[in-house]
């Protein structure tokens, strides 16, 4: 399936399904027989963006590979809430690695499948931003550099949520975490820190890199499907709001993810062999305040005397993204 926007069928392709469209143009998630790879009964918080993103991505990968997926999972929320021994929510072959080596474990699975000549079985490694951008970074870079046949999916909720919301290298500037309190002259996570892993992945010139959001399911599924059609090292970075760590209402998870995209703070793009090949235009542009205001981790920017300077700095980041990734509506 290539991503195609339906110009007008009431909701076009913005909703999960659309009764007026052919089944093939609806999402995997609209299907009554989707695999529900991550099943009910998991212990994720109410409105967990990561649980949602993981089911979206793995269900799409299952469909794209005719249900031939093995996953390695770094320690983190996703592992803890899905698989407290001896129960699991996973309905796929799934292996828990330690915090930092999901990429290496996946590389090993892929190597074993190669030795056993099991063609058609695809390997996915997944983890949160801590296990990916910080702790697992060396293993991941190695996996990229060797072009191992693994799709690595990072569910980015912008801090170490499982252990109590500590800052990671994916935490955005200005955000309050347990380790970057909203105190002092420059409250929250300092500006000028952190790293952009999709761009680092691109620098390895791997076949495919993409960013996706739980607020744009059609785009997310198309990217997973595309990645599953390619061999070699691939990387998808999915933005997944965390009601607990971000201090947002559980019912706002998708809305916040949408505002991150619509404000330009989280650009959606694809890159092949180190070059950006496409980006998703913003549909209804929103100022960064709309995104920030819904989250208590940015509450110190508002209140009686809003920190207009810091908000403007965050707006600058968004504007830079909009220019850099050509996100202006076309």
């Amino acid at each position: 399936m290539t991503l195609q926007t339906i110009k007008f069928y009431q909701t076009g392709t913005f909703t999960v399904g659309n009764r007026l469209l052919d089944e093939s143009q609806r999402t995997v998630q609209a299907n009554m027989r989707r695999t529900n790879s991550l099943n009910s009964g998991h212990r994720a918080c109410q409105g967990c963006g990561e649980a949602l993103g993981a089911r979206y991505a793995i269900d799409a990968a299952m469909r794209a590979s005719n249900n031939q997926v093995i996953a390695a999972n770094a320690t983190g929320c996703l592992e803890v809430f899905s698989t407290p021994y001896p129960e699991t929510s996973w309905q796929i072959p799934w292996m828990h690695s330690v915090f930092g080596n999901a990429a290496s474990v996946a590389t090993g699975i892929a190597a074993a499948l190669k030795v056993k000549q099991k063609k058609g079985i695809r390997v996915i490694a997944q983890g949160g931003d801590g296990g990916t951008t910080d702790i697992g970074f060396a293993c991941l870079s190695g996996m990229f550099e060797r072009n191992d046949d693994v799709l690595y999916i990072c569910y980015d909720n912008e801090a170490y949520m499982n252990t109590g919301v500590q800052r990671s290298s994916a935490t955005p500037a200005g955000a309050r975490t347990a380790t970057t309190p909203a105190a002092g002259p420059h409250p929250g996570n300092p500006f000028g820190t952190g790293k952009n892993l999709p761009l680092i992945a691109m620098a390895h010139h791997i076949p495919y890199v993409a960013t996706a959001s739980v607020a744009n399911l059609h785009d997310l599924e198309a990217k997973v499907e595309k990645a599953m059609g390619i061999h070699g090292a691939r990387y998808i970075h999915i933005h997944v709001p965390c009601p607990l760590g971000w201090g947002s209402h559980p019912s706002d998870t998708v809305k916040i993810a949408r505002l991150a995209v619509e404000s330009g703070l989280f650009p959606l793009f694809e890159a092949e062999h180190g070059e950006i090949t496409s980006s998703s235009a913003i549909r209804r542009k929103a100022p960064v305040e709309a995104y920030l205001k819904l989250q208590r981790r940015f509450a110190h920017l508002f209140g009686e005397r809003p920190d207009l300077e810091t908000i403007a700095q965050i707006q600058e980041i968004a504007d830079r993204n909009i220019a850099r990734f050509s996100l202006e509506g076309r």
């Binding site: 009431q10 999960v16 399904g17 699991t88």
Partner: protein
């Protein structure tokens, strides 16, 4: 069973963990009342028939429409569509062109020869309907659907009431009117033409109940001193004469006095009859005019002129004398003492109409108010078994209100005949704009209906506004946001992080699995149309 090293427990599924116990609020599917339905004087379920039209199931759509209104083709032309004024889509881009889709369905039904099906068994009861206008025929239609025998008595030579004798042909072609009335007759409703009822009690024998809908056909007059040669007539007689094929001679310069829709109809008719100048004189301003905006605009396009803030004081041989008015702080027009002469060959009065109530003379204690018959919530007059509706009772005087009265009266008559009281279900909560998540709707602007060229509009009685093609009607139907009512977009099924929404299949909608629903509310906030409500759990 021997287990591998360091393993002591069998693997289990997380399904054993009923996370539904975490919940403090639960989502429930609701049907909220769409603002269009709420605004419709005929009580149509607009969202529902648009839903069927969206799928291209036009017959189903028409059947749904016909449950509340027997005149889709007429209504799509002459209703002032309060549904569209209240449409939530109006806050997004433009209101859905509901009337245009309704007209498309109505015309299609006439082309295809669709007929309503009477499912009720014959009741053996007979109801008299006096007047074959929109109210009378609507009542007859609904009573017939409920299995009753209905006889409609009409004093005119032809049926339709104000739809025929008050609405000009260029707004409502007579073949459309005839066809929709014929369809009601085909159902077994008997219409007796030229039967003027002098005394309703004298004809009640053989009937179990009566519905009076004689309308308001008597023009209200104003005393205007006039010279011998002055030609003054009233708008309602003009429209009546037009229908009978006797257009009066009006002259080159015509003045119409009044500000309602009838005034506009008279002025536009005068233009079509060859008047070089057709002027509407109204005592207040354009903004205060009771005529509907769309008709006002069409009149302006056709070259009708207006004299605002003026009252007609007298008419001489050369024309009329008007007095200029000013609005006081309450918006009431006050005379200024300044006069102006305006050339006119004839003056048409459009100052409103009253009902002819002489048929009630043998019920002297019947309650009336300002020349109108008082009815209770069930549309019954103070005389049990005699119901009334349409222009003869106090209410807004539009075709659609009249159709609504007919339906409401029929339901109450049916209950009354059974010795019951008709109980209307409680109104659902209104699906206001803030209940929607409009991000999901595609951007699509309204389809414009073609209009007849201006020269032909000024010279002929051909219909002014054209219908939509099927393609356009389908597009327009698909602009509906389905406010408050599930249209199976699968969003709730998709966005639940706990797979706690069960999809039941096409047409069957969804169900919550409360064993696992944690009550996060994502489904409710991502539902485009506001068909999910979060309610607190009882503890």
């Amino acid at each position: 069973m021997k287990k591998p090293f360091a393993i002591t427990l069998d693997p289990g599924s997380s399904l054993a963990n009923h996370t539904g116990t975490w919940r403090t609020e639960r989502p429930v599917y609701v049907d909220r009342l769409p603002p269009c339905n709420h605004a419709c004087p005929a009580g149509e379920n607009i969202q529902n028939w648009l839903y069927h039209a969206e799928s291209g199931e036009y017959k189903k759509a028409w059947e749904s429409l016909m449950e509340n209104n027997p005149f889709p083709a007429i209504m799509g032309r002459v209703c002032y569509h309060p549904c569209e004024s209240s449409c939530n889509r109006g806050e997004l881009d433009e209101a859905v062109g509901i009337h245009a889709v309704e007209r498309f369905l109505g015309d299609l039904a006439l082309r295809e020869g669709w007929n309503p099906e009477i499912k009720a068994k014959a009741s053996g009861r007979r109801v008299l309907v006096v007047g074959s206008g929109p109210s009378g025929l609507s009542c007859a239609y609904h009573l017939r659907l409920m299995g009753h025998q209905v006889v409609v008595m009409e004093s005119e030579k032809d049926s339709g009431g104000m739809m025929r004798y008050g609405i000009p042909k260029y707004r409502l072609p007579r073949d459309v009117l005839d066809a929709e009335i014929a369809r009601i007759e085909k159902m077994g409703v008997e219409i007796r033409l030229g039967e003027k009822i002098e005394d309703v009690m004298a004809v009640m024998e053989g009937f179990d109940a009566a519905f009076l809908a004689v309308g308001a056909h008597i023009a209200r007059r104003a005393y205007i001193p006039a010279g011998d040669a002055a030609k003054i007539l009233d708008a309602i007689s003009l429209l009546h004469d037009m229908e009978e094929g006797n257009p009066p001679f009006l002259g080159k310069k015509v003045a119409v006095y009044g500000g309602g829709n009838t005034a506009i109809d008279a002025a536009r008719t005068a233009k079509r009859l060859g008047a070089e100048e057709s002027l509407i004189v109204y005592r207040r301003t354009k903004e205060k005019m009771p005529a509907h905006a769309s008709e006002l605009n069409e009149a302006i396009e056709e070259g009708i002129r207006f004299k605002w803030l003026a009252t007609v004081k007298e008419m001489g041989d050369e024309g009329i004398v008007v007095e200029k008015m000013i609005l006081d702080e309450t918006g009431f027009p006050r005379p200024t003492g300044a006069f102006e002469n305006i050339e006119a060959d004839c003056l048409i009065l459009a100052l409103g109409q009253e009902s002819e109530l002489s048929l009630l003379k043998s019920i002297p204690d019947l309650e009336t108010e300002k020349g109108q018959v008082k009815v209770d919530v069930s549309m019954m007059t103070s005389r049990p078994g005699i119901f009334a509706g349409g222009d003869m009772v106090p209410a807004e005087k539009t075709v659609t209100t009249a159709v609504g009265h007919g339906k409401k009266a029929a339901r109450n008559i049916d209950a009354w005949l059974k010795g019951e009281v008709f109980a209307k279900g409680a109104l659902h909560e209104i699906a206001s704009f803030d209940k929607l998540n409009t991000w999901y709707y595609s951007d699509a602007s309204k389809t414009v209906q073609n209009e007849l060229g201006i020269v032909r509009r000024q010279s002929s009685f051909d219909e002014v506004v054209k219908g939509l093609s099927e393609e356009n009607a389908l597009f327009e139907a698909r602009r509906c946001l389905s406010c408050g009512n599930c249209f199976e977009c699968d969003n709730c099924y998709g966005v639940c992080p706990d797979n706690a929404v069960i999809k039941l299949g096409p047409g069957l909608k969804f169900q919550f699995n409360y064993d696992f629903c944690k009550g996060c509310g994502l489904c409710a906030s991502e539902c485009p149309c506001g068909a999910i409500r979060m309610i607190p759990e009882s503890i």
